[in-house]
Each structure stands twice: as structure tokens, then as C-alpha cells.
Amino acid sequence: MITKLDSITFDTLLQEQDPFGSGKGRFDLKDVQLITPAALTQLAAAVHALSGDGLHPEIIIEQESVRTYLLRAGFIEILRAVAAVEPPISHIMSYDRLRGSNPMLIEVTRIETGSALPQLLDKIVWVLRHRLKYRKYDAFDVATGVSEICQNTFDHNRGTCGFLAMQVYGKGAKRFLEIGVADYGEGIMATLRRNPKNLDISTDVDAIREATKLGTSEHEDPTRGTGLYHLLEITYKHGGSIQIRSCGGKVRFRMDKKVGWTFVVPPMPGVQMAFTLPAKTRA
């Protein structure tokens, strides 16, 4: 029984309910009491992928607190055209006006081009500085990393989009932030293999590992293939962790163990990332 849906239990959900293989596109979240931003963006990407396959996915959410949170987090609005929520939610408009008003939250936001990014990154910088005690340039570092992963969602995919969400949890020194970014494109392996140099990459986990190395790209262009490398550097520098999931593979990097743990996971289109950062303690 999944009560907390996060970037780890999302794979359990895919394993147990098989929304991609069953042909139904059904997500039963009736026992879920908490959903993290990374899981929200993964779910948004999953539902859009299923919709692209001609299904009309169904998400069952019974807990009133979760339904309210999903409304507040902009999730219901983002799914309105492509999925059904059961039981149906009727009072969507009353939450639209609140969008952007909670400083601890970035609602699920669609990313299709770079034009919306500066505003999102400004908000992330603000949260890091004022809620997690990051110095200005440390906050810029993190925004730089987030910018790189967001750009990947539209730079490497055609006809799909990405999603971003953010939430601050905890209090005082135990405060931390999670950012989820997800897309439902072709995934890292297929993208890298567009470059003949990368044809020997044969698993999703290998593709993720290769993508974090400097210069690995779908393009024969020395100005490409640096984003994930720098993102990992930033994650380590600020004591955070990052999980990169692509199709059927997942790698978790944590600053104290730089090797990265690898997992084979139930297949799902696209690339999904969960980025976690702790609060800073200032003397």
C-alpha cells in the first residue's frame, strides 16, 4: 500500500499497477496521503505519455487533503485536458488565482520553451535565499543546475513538453527543498544514440551514466553535453542528491557517495529527475 508517493515509490506504483502495459492508463492513488513534487511531475509526464498513446488516463484520489493539495499544486489544472480524476473535482477555478502566491511552492508548471524559465528560476533563487539560507551565489548555482535540466526537456524532444514543481519541507535547519522535473520524450538512451558515436550505449542506466560525463551528447558540437555534468558538480557542492530516471533505468547520486546507485525500473517514456537540497546553516 503506497501512502507516500515520491520518486522512489512511484516505481512501485508502476510495477504494481502497470498503467503503461495494461492498456488502461489507470493510477489508483486512493491510499496516498502525500505526494512529492518529483512524483507529481512524474505523474504528469506519465499521464501525458499515455494520452499521447490515445488513452484517456484515470487517476483515483480519495483523500480530501490530497485532492486539495493537487488542486493547490496546479496538478489538476495541468491534467484537465488529458486525464480524468475520480471522483471528479469541480472547483478548479478557485485555486487558479492562488498560483504563485505560496513562497514554499512552485505549482506544477509546463515547460515548452525557455521563455518561462527565468521567472521560475527567480523564484527558486528567492526560496533558496530566504527560506533555506543560501547565499546569493550559491542560490545562483542551484538555479543554474535546474536551468540545465529544464532546457533538456525541450532541447532534446519534439512534440512533447516538460513539467517542473518545487516544494520546501521541514523547519529550521531540517528544512529541505525538492524540485521535480520530468518529460515524456524519447529518453536519454534514444537521444544519445542519435549520435553514431554513442551507438554502443545499450542500457538506460549506462545512458544516464554516460550523460553525466562531460561532452556526451546527441550533437557533434563541443558546446553541448555539459549540462548534467555541471548539475552533478552543483549537487555535490551543495550537499544535495539527485535521481535521474530514464525509461527503464534510474541512477541516484548523493554528495556523500559520488558513485551513484543504479536501478532497473519499470519502463516509462522520458526523463524524470528529483533534485533535493538541504538548508544551509549560517553562523
Binding site: 521563455s115 528560476l121 527567480d122 551565489y137 536551468s147 540545465e148 532541447d155 562531460l214 563541443p222 558546446t223
Partner: protein, 183 residues
């Protein structure tokens, strides 16, 4: 002939510069300016007022411009000035990642940023220091190296758009090349 110097104020595009897309817009302005310049002229990217740019932005604007210089705008110089400690660190990392280097002007002094190897740096500083252009023979004496090595080092810096080469005539009446950095 008087060398021309053009300046683009990067700060006019905002203090926080994110995304490759944004850099692409600015690179169009850079390309137009480079087209208006002749060999030996200088384009200065003035980063005053810029607080941050991401790696994609730096790669697209600085990386692509540097890569285009030898083929599309041979002999032109592209230099950066007024970087903060933070933007310098990020630009340097971005250039390192692409295996590139460029000239930075800092408090009237010139230095190299990016993937700088010690030999290139030594050569660059040797020709940047004097007020007049330097020949390969003079570099050979200055650095106590052989003439072939001096010629190779200078050719490399010239091909990377980091040094200017011009014809001159020696005291003995022979044609020779002289090298300088923005002099």
C-alpha cells in the same frame, strides 16, 4: 592602420541570463558586430551588471562565438571584461568543458580564461606584456626556447584568435612576422 574596437554591453540583456535560447538572441547581435569588423579589430563583451549566466548560455554565446572566429571572422578578437568573481568562475568552467580559452581584460591587464595550458599562458603573457609587437626570435630569447618552438607557440595562439600576427621588416631588411595581443 587604426584598429577598431566595438563593445557590447551584456548587462543590457538583464542581470540574470538563463538559457541557450536567450544566448542565441544575443549571438545574433554579436555576429552582426563581428561582420562589421575587419581583421585585427576587437569585439569586447562587457559583462558589467551581469550577476549570473548558466552553462548553456555561456556555451552558446561565448563557446559558439569563439569556435566561429577562425573560420567566419578570421583575425578578429573576442574578449570579455568586467566579470565578477562568480561569472568568471562559471565562464571559466564552461570554457574548460568545451576545451576553449578566451582573453579576459581585468584592470587593464589581459589574461586567459578557460582550458589554459601553462605553455599557452606563458606565451600569451610574454607577448601581452611588452608595449610593442614581438617576433618569434624575441620570444625565443625571452623564454629561452628554440626558434621552432617559439614559432609553433605563436602560430597556435594566432589560430585560436588569441594573438595578432602582422608582417614587418627586420633591421636586416628581411620580411618577418610580428605578434601582439590587442596592441
Amino acid at each position: 592602420m587604426e584598429k577598431m574596437e566595438e563593445r557590447i554591453q551584456l548587462g543590457q540583456y538583464g542581470p540574470q541570463l538563463w538559457t541557450r535560447e536567450r544566448a542565441r538572441e544575443i549571438r545574433n547581435a554579436v555576429a552582426k558586430t563581428l561582420e562589421s569588423l575587419g581583421p585585427g579589430d576587437v569585439l569586447i563583451m562587457d559583462a558589467k551588471g551581469v550577476e549570473v549566466f548558466d552553462y548553456s548560455f555561456a556555451n552558446e554565446l561565448f563557446g559558439k562565438t569563439l569556435l566561429s572566429l577562425p573560420h567566419e571572422y578570421p583575425g578578429r578578437f573576442f574578449i570579455v571584461e568586467n566579470l565578477t568573481k562568480y561569472t568568471r568562475e562559471n565562464l571559466s568552467k564552461a570554457l574548460e568543458g568545451m576545451g576553449l580559452m578566451m582573453i579576459e581584460k581585468k584592470e587593464k591587464k589581459l589574461n586567459l580564461l578557460g582550458k589554459v595550458n601553462p605553455i599557452d599562458e606563458q606565451t600569451f603573457l610574454a607577448i601581452a606584456r611588452p608595449k610593442k609587437p614581438m617576433t618569434a626570435t624575441e620570444l625565443k630569447e625571452e623564454l629561452n626556447i628554440n626558434l621552432n618552438a617559439a614559432n609553433e607557440r605563436l602560430s597556435k595562439l594566432t589560430s585560436l584568435g588569441l594573438a595578432r600576427r602582422q608582417n614587418s621588416v627586420s633591421a636586416a631588411g628581411r620580411e618577418q612576422y610580428e605578434y601582439s595581443v590587442l596592441a
